[in-house]
Structures are given as C-alpha cells and as structure tokens.
Subunit: 335 residues, 2 copies
C-alpha cells in the first residue's frame, strides 16, 4: 500500500486537520486529535433564522460530506472512520451546532449503521429541545438490499439532496418545507456505478475486493459492496448503457422530461474518462427525447482511489432547477 499518509489509524484526523487549515474562513473542525467528538461546522456557526442542515457518514468519500459545508448547502457534517458510520456522540453535537432555533434537517445515506446512529443522535438532540426532521437517501438502483443496507443504498444522489435542500433552507423555508424539498429530490434521483479496480482502506492495507484484469463490477457500492454482476471489460459506450438503462427505467424518465445528468468519479479515474462517459450518457438521453438541462462531472462521492464512476439522473422541474442554480459556497461546490 502506497498512500500519502503518516499513521494510517490517524488518516481521518490528519486529513481533517489539512481541510480545516485550507478552508479556515469557511469551516471549523471540532474535536481533532482526541479533543472530543469530531464534527465539522461552518465557521461562525449556525445562521440565524435559517433551518440547519446536517449530514454525515463514513470517511473515504471525500469531498462528501465536509466539502459541502458552507453557504447554500450544509451547516454541519459528521465524518466517521473510513467506511464506518459516525457515532451518535459525534452526530448529536453537530445537530445542536446547526440549530439556530428553526430546527435541523438530517440527511442520512441509507446504510443500517448510519440510519441507527442518526436515529439515536436525533433522539438525544430532541431531548435537548432541538426540532429535527430526517430524510434517508436511497438512490442506488443496483440492488434492493446490500452488505450494510436494508433497502437501497444512498450514493452520489446525496449531492443533489444536500445542494437543493440547502438552497431551500437558504431562501428561508421552514423545516417541514426543507424536508419536503429533500424528499422530492430523493423521489426523483437515481444512480448506478461501476468499479474497474478496488480501493485500499488505510488501516486495512489491502484492496477491499478483487477484480480480474479483464473484468469490471456493474452496480458496485461506494464501499466496494457487491453490485449486480461482474462482466468482462467493455467499451465506455457499453458500460454507460449498462449503468444508464436501469437508472432511466427505474426513474421512468422519457421524451419531454428535463434532467440533471451527473457523472461522478470514484476517485481513481481521470476526469477525461468521466467526460467520455458523460458524452455517451448525454447522447443516449437525447436519443430518448430527454433534455439534459444541467450537468455535473467530477469526483464528488468517492471511494478513496477506486477506479470507476457512477451515473446519476435527477428529474428536474422549475423549482428544483432554480434551487440547483442558487448560489453555493463550499470547499467542493462553489457558484
């Protein structure tokens, strides 16, 4: 294993130390190096008069979630150990820190550990008189249940939920309305991914799974959980179809629909290849009469240095498009 790390067991803390230094005006990282529960908030804390947004999950998916803390998106993020759910004692203070009196929306990716720990943390926060609503993101169409999931996994579509719900909070919506917008995004977003090569978790020291030189895994999870099937290596056009068809079918988008198309890198695939996939997916949607009105291409929900990509489609209406376009100022998304 060759990685730019000092102590593999301290990788998350060391990375957050650099993150805090690089974005000092934007975020604050709490509890580093044993000082207490680790969580990330905006610099300056909760915004008066605004519903707070909190998300979190295992580390290793950077920039998710800490990279999305800032104006127009999250108020706090809770990074667990690599590929491991954050604990309630981390999540509860993050929820409290995000509360400015109008309540907090917790955005949870659907993994059993995340869901349970957020539930416990929400109960603890409510006992401290914070009003909390929770939404669970489950956009991955690959499999119904998975290694660490009852029901579908939450993956790259989480970026759309956090961005759009964040914009709804920023325009002044109340907690019920922000939660409703988040649910609307969840109802309209679907994803499927592929792995070409596995990643290595620092404290494990060997690849999470094995793939032969000539095979790929369709429907991979963002922790390397098994997908739908392993197939021989294929051209990008064919892989794109294998990912896009189940997404489109499940979402039921067709002629006359308008969508956002998001090609997400898993961390170890060059941007140039993500654009090849984007071009193929865009053309396939156009052939079906679907209008691609917005795009996102890059490494946003990664699996360390895994080679691969996912395709996400979000069905847009005027409201979702406006909220997507609204200003955002975070480490990883900024416009």
């Amino acid at each position: 294993m060759k990685k730019l790390l000092d102590n593999p067991d301290q990788a998350v803390d060391d990375s957050l130390t650099g993150f805090a230094a690089a974005h000092a005006g934007l975020v604050e990282v709490h509890g580093l190096h044993g000082a207490g529960p680790v969580y990330v908030t905006r610099a300056g804390g909760a915004v008066a008069g605004k519903v707070g947004l909190v998300s979190g999950g295992g580390s290793g998916h950077e920039p998710l979630h800490a990279g999305f803390v800032g104006d127009g998106m999250l108020d706090a993020a809770v990074p667990g150990a690599v590929f491991t759910s954050p604990t309630p004692d981390q999540i509860t203070p993050a929820i409290q820190a995000a509360d400015a009196g109008r309540g907090v929306l917790a955005i949870v990716k659907n993994y059993t550990g995340d869901v349970l720990n957020f539930e416990t943390a929400v109960e603890l926060a409510e006992a401290e008189d914070v009003q909390v609503a929770t939404v669970v993101v489950n956009d991955d169409v690959a499999v119904e249940d998975s290694t660490w999931t009852a029901g579908r996994r939450g993956v790259a579509g989480t970026v759309m939920v956090e961005k759009i719900a964040g914009a709804a909070a920023a325009r002044g919506d109340d907690l019920a309305a922000v939660a409703a917008v988040a649910q609307k995004v969840i109802a309209n977003v679907r994803t499927m991914g592929v792995a070409l090569a596995a990643c290595t978790v620092p404290h494990v020291g060997k690849p999470s799974f094995d793939l032969a030189d000539d095979e790929i895994e369709i429907g991979i999870g963002i922790h390397g959980e098994p997908g739908r099937h392993r197939v021989p290596m294929a051209p990008a056009a064919q892989i794109t179809e294998l990912l896009l068809e189940p997404v489109v079918a499940d979402l039921g988008v067709g002629a006359g629909d308008t969508v956002l198309l998001f090609v997400n890198g898993m961390g170890g695939t060059p941007l140039s290849e993500l654009y090849v996939v984007y071009g193929r997916a865009h053309a396939l949607l156009a052939q079906r009469g679907v209008t691609v009105a917005r795009s996102l291409v890059g490494n946003y929900v990664t699996s360390l240095e895994m080679q691969g990509a996912s395709i996400t489609v979000l069905r847009l209406d005027d409201e979702l498009e406006q909220l997507w376009d609204a200003p955002v100022r975070t480490a990883a998304l900024h416009w």
Copy 2:
C-alpha cells in the same frame, strides 16, 4: 489496461465531446471528429474590449487547460494528443478566436514542443494582424533540464498564471500589462511533485514508467519524466518536506511573507490524502513564519490516473491576492 474509453485513439475527441455537452453554455469545442483543427473557446467567442488569453498543451492533464476557459480566465485552450504538444494549425485559429482587437496573451508551459509550436502559431497569427505576447511558465524546481525541456518544466503553477492573468484581462488591463502580471506570477511561483505510481497513456496501453512497490519518485514531471531521485516509500510528513523545502528555498520565502499554498493531485490520489499533505505543508510554512493567505487543494493539473501530488507556493502581494480572489466562472474553477 482498464479505462472508460471506446477507441483509445479517439480518447481526446470523445472526452472533448462530453466536455462540450456538459458545459454547452460556457464553452464551444471546434473541429471534433475530423471536422478541422481542434480547439476550445468560450461560448459566444472573444469578449469585446478585453485582451484574450490562450493556453494549451498535451491532453491528459485535465482539467488543464480546457477546464479553465470562461469568465475571468482563458478565452481559448488548445488540447494536443495525450502528452503531446498541440500543433500550430490548432493554436493559430485559437489565438485568432481569442482576439477582440486588444491582442492575445499566449501562456505556454515550458516544453520544447509546446514552445516551438506556439512560436510558429504566433507568427502565423501575427501575419493575420493579431497582436500576441507570450509568457512561458517554468515553475518546476525539480530539475534544470528534462526529457522534453530545455530549462525548467511548466507544471501546476500554470493554474495561478492563468487565473491571475485572466483576472487582469477581465479588469481591462492592456496586453503589456496582462503579460507583465503573468510574468510577475511566473517569477513568484514554484512547484515540486512526487509520483507513487505511474499512469497509462491510452494509445500506449502500458504504464509510462515502473516504480517498485516500496519506492516513490521525488520531482516527477507531469508526463512521468524522471525527477530528482527515487527514494523508499515514506510517511506523508517526510514526503511533504522533500517537496516543500526545495520550493521554499528556490523561491526564497521566509518569515513575514504571505503565500498561496496549492496541493495538486496527479489524478489517482484521493482528496483525503491531498489534505494530509496540505496540513503538513501549511504547518511547515507556519513554523517558518510564512502566512498562508490562500489555498487550493484538488486535481487541477493531472497526469491521467497517476498517483501522486505536487506542492506549489505562490508569493502573494496585494495585487496578486486581489486578482486571485476576482470572480471566475469556468468548468473547473468557479467563484
């Protein structure tokens, strides 16, 4: 070789097709799929009353350069084949397209092929009555001469040159002034990189160089050209020192200086590791009494999926800081 590609020989065209589709309101890609010389311009063409900025070089370093076309940065970019200089017949029309009557600054990374082909292209453009100034970026302190270079190579510091010169052009500076700002950045920016593992050029199909499982290359070039020395794999703190010390020494920054610190990923290294390096470098600079006033962390000047990173330091003054902060709207930098 497992890559998300169709025909490896068409990888650049296929990627640019996706890039054009993803950023249709921002850029236009000319000459795809045999229609003519390939180059990228802003959608809508040159901006009246503004000096134009053109850069270019081999592909495989995405988002450089096409990802930096847009408001506040480049007016045109010229992508060559992978790791291969663009040809004069591509560069000349890009220069012409960037000209709105106030002349064009060509920003060239110091590789012999790039320098020669830009020289020829500039002569051809001048014959068509376009006024052109050229600056050559040579920020890599690793080696004096290299595989494809007389003198130092131009690497990640190019982003700072393009951003800051772009802001000078956007505020209305004339050609001489924009060129002078670019030269000022070049005089104040230095970089050094490390490779942990090589990348594979699509049409070659095997890794560009070999590194043993326990060795890394300090001072690597962005095409995998040899650096200063190969050393055993080491902790991030030690690698950071090996990169930062020569940069700081060459630049002569010390107590009382203010800098921008840029940790650039080579393409296959997770963002979390780049932040570990950033944290170490930031602390080392602080120990020396250097103020890090601005930061950039991410994959901006890549070498396909190479694993590794580079550290860039730019000495700031008030002017450079203001120009860095000025608004930018491109595919890869946006604020």
